[in-house]
């Protein structure tokens, strides 16, 4: 298996340089290049590359905005000339961040890390139209950035026209509506408990009866979710088989 790679940089020479470095690395195959966010998004949606080399500073949409526009983000290695963006928090699902001019050794280590991660992924369900549990989304909240695996999200909550997601100790917002996300998430994994909230079925700790036959679900992170009447019967139905 080789990783399919998309190189995104506004400078032609920078792309040239990266392609030159990548051509000697067996683990990757450069499947395309893009000089701006628009081209990149089009390519990603069509060709679904495994890994992006992404320059942060680009005309039009920058690298972060590009990622925010993606429904599902491939693995990403940031390449940038100078860190003036004070990228502070990549603690979660830490990814690599390389400075140009790239050093070949550093580049190889970064690619190996992605390769390692990718080979553990379950590739069987790749054909499905819905987002898989091991899909990751990019979330930026102020100065903090995360790549969040869907499986790690325990709760999604309506916050105006945005959605607040809960994972580990964090709860940033993503600029998508809960109704939209519901259509994209696997119903076997995520359940719409009520108008406001959707839960990850794997993160349920306890189920308790609530009044008038409804139920209350306690999540592993300590959050309580009350399931609406209509959804209670749906939930019971789901759980019965």
């Amino acid at each position: 298996m080789k990783l399919n790679v998309l190189v995104i940089d506004d400078s032609r020479l920078a792309r040239q340089e990266l392609k030159h470095l990548l051509q000697d690395i067996d683990l990757v195959n450069v499947s395309g290049e893009a000089s701006n966010a628009g081209e990149a998004i089009e390519f990603i949606n069509k060709a679904k590359p495994d890994l992006l080399f992404l320059d942060i500073q680009m005309p039009g949409k920058d690298g972060f905005e590009l990622l925010e526009d993606l429904e599902e983000t491939p693995e990403v290695i940031f390449t940038t000339a100078y860190n003036e963006y004070a990228i502070k928090a990549f603690e979660y699902n830490a990814l690599d961040y390389l400075q140009k001019p790239l050093e070949k050794e550093r580049l190889l280590t970064a690619i190996e890390k992605v390769y390692e991660k990718q080979s553990h992924k379950d590739s069987s369900s790749k054909s499905t139209e819905l987002l898989r549990e091991d899909s990751q989304v990019f979330v930026k909240d102020g100065d903090n950035c995360w790549f969040v695996k869907l499986a790690d999200i325990s709760l999604l909550e309506i916050e105006g026209s945005y959605t607040r997601i809960y994972f580990e100790q964090n709860s940033p917002m993503i600029p998508k509506t809960l109704n939209y996300l519901e259509t994209r998430l696997d119903p076997k994994a995520f359940f719409r408990a009520n108008r406001q909230q959707m839960i990850n079925l794997r993160c349920i700790d306890k189920i308790e009866p609530w009044f008038s036959g409804n139920i209350k679900i306690l999540l592993q992170n300590g959050k309580e979710v009350k399931v609406s009447r209509r959804q209670t019967s749906k939930f019971k139905e789901m759980m019965s088989f």
């Binding site: 400078s11 020479l13 500073q57 000339a81």
Partner: protein
């Protein structure tokens, strides 16, 4: 005999306490008045000329109040005669006390002022150093520098001659920017040469996204300007405008010279926001300060949106 002695003794202590009390009130009042004057800032001699008569008046006042107290309610002058000499001595004693008090008061304030003046001086120095450092830091934009090196790395494979050329251009630019704060003025010829190198390097990075033209009056070439000032405008045009536009745009640099003034205009595609970022604001402020230092308050640097698609930065240096 014993009883009489004790009577005198207790009357004396009563006068002593009253005397001390009056001095306390007078020094408080004096301090209150002093706070409204500028005496604290005076030199020692000028201060002495004022303090000696002032304390004399206050001493007289104090002793007259004490004498009045002795006259009534104590009624001492009914029993013993009033000696004028005693009064004079008492007044002088009182004045000495007040002068000592003034000495302590003014030396305390002198040291306090000295200390805060020292702190002010340090603060000012720190601000200046800070400004210098920022100026140094903004000389070459690190983003530009590293992109440039990365591009040259690729050029080495693609076009060796062009790569070699780019290294020379970058060297020129670095040398110029490192040396610039050693000089107050450079000729426009030197500055424009560097701006051309800079734009050529940015052109390598941005490819067809960057177009630029120069129109320089030949008469203007030997005019003197503060170094890195046109460079700053060109860099700002790219950093804040052109690098954000996917299709890119142009930079036009025009220099004209009349008998009255030297005009440098940098026009470029894009729009600027009303509130520039901190580093840009600082860079521009620094440039304005350097212009004003060299050419007086009539020299100016203005940046504004020319129309909906273009920005103009104009430097005006009067020549008369």
């Amino acid at each position: 005999m014993m009883a009489l002695y004790q009577g005198i003794n207790s009357t004396n202590s009563l006068i002593g306490i009253f005397d001390a009390f009056i001095h306390l009130i007078i020094t408080h009042g004096f301090r209150y008045v002093l706070q409204k004057t500028t005496w604290k800032t005076l030199s020692f001699l000028k201060l002495a000329v004022r303090v000696v008569p002032a304390t004399f008046i206050l001493a007289v006042l104090a002793k007259f109040i004490v004498a009045a107290f002795m006259w009534w309610p104590l009624g001492l002058f009914d029993k013993q005669p009033f000696y004028f000499n005693t009064l004079i001595v008492a007044i002088l004693q009182s004045q000495i006390i007040l002068i000592v008090w003034s000495l302590i008061y003014f030396s305390f304030h002198y040291f306090r002022n000295y200390k805060s003046a020292e702190i002010e001086k340090w603060k000012l120095e720190a601000v200046l150093k800070d400004a210098e450092l920022t100026a140094l830091k903004t000389q070459v934009n690190p983003h530009f520098l590293f992109n440039c090196l990365n591009n040259i790395r690729a050029l080495v494979l693609e076009d060796t001659e062009k790569a070699r050329d780019a290294i020379t251009k970058l060297s020129d630019l670095l040398r110029y920017s490192i040396q610039y704060n050693q000089k107050q003025k450079v000729t426009l010829r030197e500055e424009i040469a560097i701006v051309k190198q800079y734009l050529a390097l940015e052109g390598i990075h941005m490819d067809s996204r960057l177009n630029y033209t120069f129109h320089i009056d030949n008469d203007a070439l030997e005019s003197e300007i503060p170094p890195m000032i046109v460079q700053l405008l060109a860099e700002n045009a790219i950093k804040h405008c052109l690098s954000k536009i996917p299709e890119g745009g142009f930079i036009k640099i025009d220099v004209s010279k009349t008998i009255e003034a030297l005009m440098i205009q940098v026009t470029n595609t894009g729009q600027i926001s009303a509130t520039p970022s901190d580093s840009t604001g600082l860079g521009l402020r620094n440039a304005r300060e350097r212009l004003n230092l060299l050419f007086g308050d009539q020299a100016s640097l203005r940046i504004e949106n020319l129309d909906r698609d273009n920005v103009i930065a104009a430097i005006h240096i009067p020549l008369s």
